[in-house]
């Protein structure tokens, strides 16, 4: 059980080796990657930034919650920060367990929670030279900024 914010490329194979041992009949992996189109605009790269101390705190909370819910203690979340190019892996979630259902459930739980709760932001760089914060409250000001569900629940 480990989380990390990293500044260098994520090595998926070594994460799989790290998370598994001979008791594991199943490993599941999610990889987020920089894709070349978003919302119809041609993307050249993404700069990831974070509120590091809080992001680590939330990521640690997620792996603890996954352990409680699914009995999966073999879970690693690594998120990369900084300037990434097309195809680069931005986040890797790897889970291992003797059986497949908990490994799959814990992995999916972790990526869904990460997307909702972990304070990380992406600045998308476009082919036309412009850049924009993805999902930024500022761009969406007119229509109102909605908080992620889980966060809204906590706050009310």
């Amino acid at each position: 059980m480990r989380v990390a914010l990293v500044d260098c490329p994520i090595d998926v194979s070594s994460l799989i080796s790290e998370v598994s041992d001979d008791s594991c009949g199943a490993a599941s992996v999610f990889l987020g990657c920089v894709r070349n189109v978003n919302d119809g605009r041609a993307v050249t790269g993404i700069e990831y930034s974070a509120y590091r101390s809080m992001a680590e705190r939330e990521m640690n909370a997620i792996v603890r919650e996954a352990a409680e819910r699914f009995g999966v203690s073999r879970l690693i979340i690594e998120h990369r920060l900084g300037a990434l190019g097309l195809g680069d892996v931005s986040v890797a979630i790897v889970a291992a367990h003797p059986h497949r259902a908990p490994a799959l459930d814990a992995m999916r739980f972790a990526i869904e929670q990460l997307k909702r709760r972990v304070p990380i932001w992406k600045l998308e760089l476009y082919v036309d030279g412009t850049r924009e914060w993805v999902g930024s409250g500022i761009r969406n000001r007119e229509s109102g900024v909605e908080a992620p569900d889980v966060v809204a629940t906590r706050i009310q």
């Binding site: 809080m54 931005s90 972990v118 932001w121 914060w133 930024s136 409250g137 500022i138 908080a147």
Partner: protein, 93 residues
């Protein structure tokens, strides 16, 4: 004038550190602000101050806030010394 539980005189102001990120840091042109606020101030009061600053009109009216790295409600009362982070919509992964 407020008195603490042990009877000491408390100062009229206290300091919190406000952190801004991503689009919000761009809007206000800075990523950290030391704010002097009255004792008993809430997160809502801090947000009011931020929204009144130059560029503050570019923030949404009720942004997410974390106090000491934990999501917090607008009604949360501050004791002084907290790290108050204003959190744009998260977009990790």
């Amino acid at each position: 004038m407020h008195t603490g539980r042990a009877g000491f005189i408390l100062s009229e102001t206290m300091t919190v550190t406000v952190l801004l990120f991503a689009s919000y840091a761009d809007a206000l042109g800075k990523s950290a602000i030391e704010l002097d606020v009255a004792p008993g101030s809430t997160v809502r009061d801090i947000l009011g101050t931020l929204l009144a600053m130059p560029g503050g009109d570019r923030l949404p009216p009720r942004p997410l806030v974390a106090v000491n790295r934990e999501y917090a409600s607008a009604a949360t009362t501050l004791q002084g010394g907290e790290e108050v982070a204003v959190i744009p919509p998260v977009a990790g992964g």
